[in-house]
Symmetry: C2
Subunit: 173 residues, 2 copies
């Protein structure tokens, strides 16, 4: 995995737009809105490298062990899938936003194995949003993420409440 | 991070016991039971390396940017904390068990920043368990995880339903 491989989504969008995308604030997220990012190809080498460091269960390290497991073959650690998704989220819109982070994740579902060579796309859906009572400069946007493989199968979903800065702190929401 | 650094918990336990720990099956998890694993020291280098690959938001890469953020200083990506926790879980008991993986995570809460030099310990609590109706060789154990720093502060919690093989498939539970 290289910086070049990761440059993907946003650089393509930037070229299309011929000028930088406007920075996203809390006000710009509209409930019901969806977007897609990617694709991003996963390699055998990175699946094994991640697993060796963070989740060295045999089915994430070895093809034969994977075949004997519920994964039915070598498959990425679910936490690696989360990392891949987070990178797609960063490159997709977070790095061009007023993101202030997230206090957690409401749910993660690993629905199908992520395999070497899989080409993944990310779909985002804005669920709802609210301003913060304690911090007038901040709002919380709940976002649903779905990661799909090239067969159109959903491999993973996640829902997270993300904190974003407001363009107009304290204004009526 | 090296294999030596990770050998930690279990090798100490093995020496104490003077024989390998018995492999853990579904039957061995008792609701209410707690255990502790670690410690595991987090380095600045791995915080930055993980963020550069999976979550390149400025507060995970740079001290000055971290100070301007809600983290109040350089802090690990929440997904890095998840990876560190997963490795502690693997070394703590999963690699010595009949683990069949997990279909997801019920919740993740990132409560406090994980800093360079933090020494983390992991506490597990068995919440409940049930046998699988569709797979008599499997049971699901819901486990709550809490990761603490050296100040005794909880930096992260997670609840996950984990699948384990049964020592006696199909036996009355």
């Amino acid at each position: 995995m290289t910086a070049v491989a990761w440059a993907g989504t946003q650089s393509v969008l930037l070229k299309r737009c011929a000028r930088p995308l406007a920075k996203l604030y809390f006000e710009d997220f509209q409930p019901g809105h969806t977007a897609e990012y990617g694709p991003r190809v996963v390699t055998r080498e990175e699946i094994i490298a991640f697993a060796a460091q963070y989740d060295p269960q045999p089915m994430h390290l070895d093809e034969a062990a994977g075949q004997k497991s519920l994964l039915g073959g070598l498959g990425a650690s679910g936490w690696h899938s989360c990392g891949i998704m987070m990178r797609m989220i960063c490159d997709g819109f977070i790095l061009n936003s007023s993101s202030m982070g997230a206090g957690g994740v409401e749910e993660v579902n690993w629905l199908r194995p992520v395999r070497p060579g899989d080409s993944l796309t990310l779909r985002t859906t804005i669920l709802d949003k609210r301003t913060s009572k304690s911090r007038p400069d901040m709002g919380i946007v709940r976002i649903r993420y779905e990661m799909m493989n090239a067969h159109g199968e959903c491999v993973m979903t996640m829902v997270t409440p993300a904190m974003f800065g407001r363009r107009h702190p304290g204004a009526p929401s």
